[in-house]
């Protein structure tokens, strides 16, 4: 099982002292967090893509390429890549280039984006969000799997005899996850291609995640990619830890109460009961996270949101230490002990390359 962090890249005032990081500080902090994630033994760093304030990451492959150069094992991903407003041709090119530079340590999570004005800024219409996601990904998939592509669609100019360069590393495209909170069409899309499905998980009740993951697993089997429990599932999580749970609650509460997404609404206690948010001791985080398996089944990737709501970098790095030292080693052991042998691990470049070789040999034989 893979463990990691995902970041939105928001610039948010620290509610305890009013301090606002500059964009430069925030960008550098994200790099520091990624490097720290590798240092403490996490597997994945994923970053969002945004084209509006107060978010800094408009150019994920630039940042991920920079991080790739300073890490050795860390898998670099997105949370999410905007499949609606980006040109799929440019996604194919940018992420193939990143894949080469990072020696295959790259995958992507597709998302639609929910900020209305961003669509027209990129010449699109949010009301066509689902059709855009379906058509653009169909093109991206072809560009990575076929050398020469002829294409006609609704949302971009046609292509005649086009080859996206560079070609994917070793002829193996980056693995793709599809993220969606509530659109069954996206779970269906992930199932259709045999891609992964990522449930953001952290802003909604568990029952919601259970339905979406259940639908994806059922359709994954329907399309002949394996049994439902062999589908590739990722989940988000949101935690804040201190040795004593009371200290965690006391320290995190002002950040929770003023957080951009849910601040000034439910109490920390109410939100913790309704969503996977866990504020407490490392053991509480371990217990809660293991519980995700009860409704999502055996899954392949767990990403935590740690750096948001104005938490200072120093605090985030402390959280990463706790996660790497006390939480993830236990979760690795416990999840591995529970997972049946026929449930696969999350695909990596190495595993997908080996699978491709095996398929080629079978064809020859």
């Amino acid at each position: 099982m893979q463990f990691g962090v995902f970041t939105v890249g928001d610039v948010t005032p620290d509610p305890t002292n009013g301090r606002v990081p500059t964009e430069h500080e925030r960008i550098k902090a994200m790099v520091t967090i990624a490097k720290k994630a590798e240092e403490v033994g996490l597997d994945v760093f994923a970053m969002g893509e945004h084209h509006n304030e107060p978010f800094v990451p408009s150019s994920p492959t630039t940042m991920l390429g920079y991080i790739a150069a300073q890490t050795d094992k860390l898998l670099l991903s997105t949370s999410t890549t905007l499949i609606t407003t980006n040109d799929p041709v440019k996604i194919a090119e940018d992420y193939a280039m990143l894949q080469h530079l990072a020696d295959g340590r790259v995958d992507l999570m597709m998302g639609r984006g929910n900020t209305g004005p961003v669509y027209p800024w990129f010449g699109k219409d949010i009301r066509a969000g689902i059709p855009l996601a379906i058509e653009n990904y169909a093109l991206l998939h072809r560009l990575w799997h076929e050398h020469v592509v002829d294409w006609t669609g609704k949302f971009r100019t046609p292509l005649q005899g086009f080859t996206s360069t560079p070609r994917p590393l070793d002829g193996v495209p980056p693995f793709v996850w599809h993220g969606s909170i509530r659109s069954p069409e996206i779970a269906e899309q992930a199932a259709y291609y045999g891609d992964g499905f990522f449930a953001n998980h952290i802003f909604w009740p568990a029952s919601h995640t259970q339905r979406m993951v259940g639908l994806y697993r059922e359709r994954f089997a329907h399309y002949g990619h394996g049994d439902p429990d062999q589908a590739i599932v990722g989940l988000g999580g949101q935690v804040f830890m201190r040795r004593n749970s009371q200290d965690a609650v006391r320290e995190f509460r002002p950040y929770f109460d003023n957080a951009p997404v849910y601040g000034h609404g439910p109490s920390l206690e109410e939100f913790s009961a309704e969503t996977p948010l866990t504020v407490g001791s490392p053991q509480q985080v371990i217990d809660r996270t293991l519980g995700f398996r009860d409704y999502a089944g055996d899954y392949q990737r767990q990403l935590f949101l740690l750096d948001h709501a104005g938490l200072p970098l120093k605090t985030v790095l402390e959280q990463l230490d706790i996660l790497g030292e006390e939480v993830v080693p236990v979760l690795r052991r416990e999840f591995a002990a529970l997972k049946p042998a026929h449930v696969p691990e999350a695909p990596t470049h190495a595993s997908r390359k080996a699978e491709q070789l095996k398929k080629a040999e079978q064809v020859e034989a």
């Binding site: 689902i130 059709p131 379906i134 058509e135 169909a138 669609g153 609704k154 509530r182 069954p184 069409e185 269906e188 899309q189 259709y192 802003f203 909604w204 009740p205 919601h208 339905r211 979406m212 639908l215 359709r219 997404v261 849910y262 601040g263 000034h264 609404g265 439910p266 109410e270 939100f271 309704e274």
Partner: protein, 245 residues
């Protein structure tokens, strides 16, 4: 006897409230009317005061806490709705509007709804026609032609007790159950029925207005199939169709 569900939404803030009082009068009358048409209504009352924090939290977080989820599911699954608000600043109350702002956008489509309001003076009564009715039209609800306004003065005096023109009698029970079946038959309705409609006063006593509106709601429920709720997680198109655009 057919069984259907009636959900009553009451946005009164005080306890007890005249809004709830009106809501209870309306639901009791609807239950009686429905029984005479062979329908048993199971009534559930939602006091929005109890859900006020949850409604705000839903707006701020994007999902309803459990108690509100339960209430929203009840509304979506109801065969009929009675919605009653106090008049604040010449419109429905903010809490009333906020509740319907978090109801799923298709939940009220084709659902019979009886609208009602309370206020200090009858001068506010057109709030029902100028604020509530357009909102429910936007939500594609089937809003009953008769809306019921209760001013403070309606709760006292002879007017409140006067049965009004539509008081159900043995005779009216014997009427064909389907004046709202919109078919060519309408023309063939018995003269008794037509006369009764023509004689109806729009400004009767409160009790008369309650009975008339409840009667409309009961008839609308009687002639309909039970409500169905769409599963938000259900796939509505094949992926091949989605791919084909």
């Amino acid at each position: 006897m057919k069984q259907r569900t009636l959900v009553v939404v009451s946005a009164g803030l005080s306890q007890p409230s005249s809004t709830r009082l009106l809501a209870d009068r309306l639901s009791a009358a609807a239950v009686d009317s429905a029984v005479s048409l062979g329908v048993r209504l199971d009534v559930r009352v939602l006091e929005l005061r109890d859900l006020a924090h949850d409604i705000t939290n839903h707006m701020l977080t994007g999902f309803p806490p459990a108690a509100l989820r339960d209430a929203l599911d009840a509304v979506a699954g109801a065969d009929a709705l009675i919605a009653v608000t106090p008049v604040f600043n010449a419109s429905y109350s903010g809490l009333f509007k906020s509740f319907f702002d978090v109801v799923d956008k298709d939940a009220l489509a084709d659902k019979p709804v009886l609208i009602a309001a309370t206020g200090g003076t009858a001068r506010h009564s057109l709030v029902l026609e100028h604020a509530l009715r357009p909102m429910f039209s936007y939500l594609h609800a089937v809003t009953m032609p008769t809306s019921v306004f209760a001013a403070s003065e309606d709760w006292g005096g002879d007017e409140a007790l006067r049965p009004g023109p539509l008081r159900r009698t043995a005779n009216t029970d014997a009427l064909p159950p389907g004046p709202l079946r919109r078919t060519a038959d309408t023309d063939a309705l018995p003269p008794r029925r037509l006369r009764r409609t023509a004689n109806t006063e729009t400004e009767g006593g409160l009790r008369g207005r309650i009975l008339r509106a409840a009667d409309e709601l009961a008839r609308e429920v009687e002639r309909r199939d039970p409500a169905t709720v769409a599963d938000p997680f259900a796939l509505t198109a094949s992926f091949e169709d989605l791919l084909a655009g």
